[in-house]
Symmetry: none
Subunit: 408 residues, 2 copies
Amino acid sequence: MNAIIISIGEELTTGQTVNTNSAYLARRLAERGIRTLEHCTVSDERAPVAAAIARAAESAEIVLVSGGLGPTEDDLTRHALADVLGTELLLDPKRLAHLEEWFRARGRAMADSNRVQAMVPRGAEAIDNRMGTAPGLAAVVKSAKVFIMPGVPSEMKVMYDEQIAPLLGEGAGAIAFKIVHTYGAGESDLGARIADLMRRGANPLVGTTVAAGLVSVRIEAHDRVPARAREMAAEMAAEVRRRLGELVVGEDEETLASVVGALLRKAGATLATAESCTGGMIGEMITGVSGSSEYYLGGVIAYDNRVKQELLGVGEAMLREHGAVSEPVAAAMAEGCRKRFASDWAIGVTGVAGPTGGTADKPVGLVYVALAGKGGTEVIRSQFPGTRDVIRVRASLMGLNMLRRKLL
Amino acid sequence: MNAIIISIGEELTTGQTVNTNSAYLARRLAERGIRTLEHCTVSDERAPVAAAIARAAESAEIVLVSGGLGPTEDDLTRHALADVLGTELLLDPKRLAHLEEWFRARGRAMADSNRVQAMVPRGAEAIDNRMGTAPGLAAVVKSAKVFIMPGVPSEMKVMYDEQIAPLLGEGAGAIAFKIVHTYGAGESDLGARIADLMRRGANPLVGTTVAAGLVSVRIEAHDRVPARAREMAAEMAAEVRRRLGELVVGEDEETLASVVGALLRKAGATLATAESCTGGMIGEMITGVSGSSEYYLGGVIAYDNRVKQELLGVGEAMLREHGAVSEPVAAAMAEGCRKRFASDWAIGVTGVAGPTGGTADKPVGLVYVALAGKGGTEVIRSQFPGTRDVIRVRASLMGLNMLRRKLL
């Protein structure tokens, strides 16, 4: 079974509001085994809305529409549905009474403009909205079931979950998702190692995406039986993990920080951080995990060189000779931090985050990340591409990943 | 001039990822007076992508596509463009050399699969991507200009802004946007102070949105003349600022951290931070601003109590008597930090970020934020609602805002 999701609103087409409704609906549909072919967003004008509904009804069995059911002049979705059905809007006395009751219960007078919300195209049915004044609408167009919901996310979600989902039935099967997160190889290297699993149209379907420095392998398994779909997804995730080995940092909701935290806890070891260009980002990532006080002692944000000297014991001569962005300084920061905090492990980071401050010798994106432990200190030099923010995220993940590999 | 925005990716159609690219592009187009008729999202399959491009080229003069330019087998957008053009993919030797150089500069070997990224449909042109390996593509389909960009938001934005926008020209009428960010009042309080400016259908149109601890006032002005639209939006922003006074923290791309940074620079003053529950987030926000080394010296992430004592000089007796989450400890952290870093200002934060660790006395969300300066130390006690992440963001913004108000 296939669906198309239509979102309506000038605030969406102009980009003032990011559309979160359609992702919500697509996930919900997928859980029922219904595949979303397309998301379509149009402004709240009568003709484009009607055209979008008519076109969707030709390619999909289910059409979910949200937005344009309000009481004002720019809410024209019900008119557009009437156009698609070739009928007119009729006042539904039961709906009107319901609407008047809604306002009465809240001690408010109903504005005349709200009457339009009791209008239903002939051939369509109204759907109760217990979160607001706009009832939804249901109709059959060609052979597609069309459902129209309010655009306000809290109203849309309740209406979909309580009233529309039960009418959809189950798709030919269920879709289960797994995500395997990796760090340390590019998308192409990774793809080469699982190319045979990434065939088009395969089940489970395997694909890769890049976000915030991690390359993630997405797995989507289809089966008539939901439990079997989940099992297939889990089996494929296990196969992907086998293929990718130590590149794999976690699954689904796991992050590098949560995985490193679990490994530190298991080892009974502690961590401290010394950050220059990342400015606290590594600490922020680590402490984003609840319970991190068990293994994270704290850190120094050593932005100024004097702080590197006074709090981390980096030598003035070393800073003068090699510069703040250098391998020896990264190592000295990590070692000084480990000593200062008496921690088992310490991460030190120094680099040029840009966009200004780069030189021919030390260009923007040059970062040294050091990991100090009982057995010594390792430093990795990287040249990261991207914006200031991307460079900082990549440097932070590099530090966490170096520790992860040591703890494995 | 009209545009259609097409986003490509199975992770988008299944709702695993919320689409932010298309809102970004629509805002940018609107600024040039180009109206977005429709946003369309399809999965990364050759035929639907080709159909979406062909259909869009029939209704709009500009078609912006993002996604599906990666090096793996599920990246088929360039093949789809070739289908639309009725041509085949050709290897562009210049592109290949460029790609090989990209990897060489980063000390990595290029995987064979990356070769596909040097393939360009006959009749199309490649667009440089200085943020990654996937070049964009430009072609004319019917009479529409079609531009294809990578799906990774950081790469897409730079390519659009630097290379595609200059090719688009200006539309007939313009939409100008302004956003005024506020801190310290709820959305309804704020709305009451500008209710008369928020009429539906007004021009400029004024609305409010809440995100990440800030309440923002959105302004959208329409006029045939771009300069006039911008002027109308700026006038309304000035009026909103007059009404909201010190609640206003900045406009558009400004953040609390960038505004505080500008004020510190203007005052020639320095800042250091002492963070417990925020774990480095304040430092991370401040150093997210390029040039922050001019006024930010660094900080201590004092997660463990011993760190509060040893690096910030918080007394053991004080910690025992009042507990780490207390007004005197927050003040002592800020004061100890100011002394340690010899900074003009220091922010100290201690609190219970949760979800565990709360008690009847000190529930989750209780945060003390201190600001120490030459004139003394101020501490604010807050009880923040929300998740661990929301509490940490709110605590960080509270610290920055206390400093902003002192510097005004």
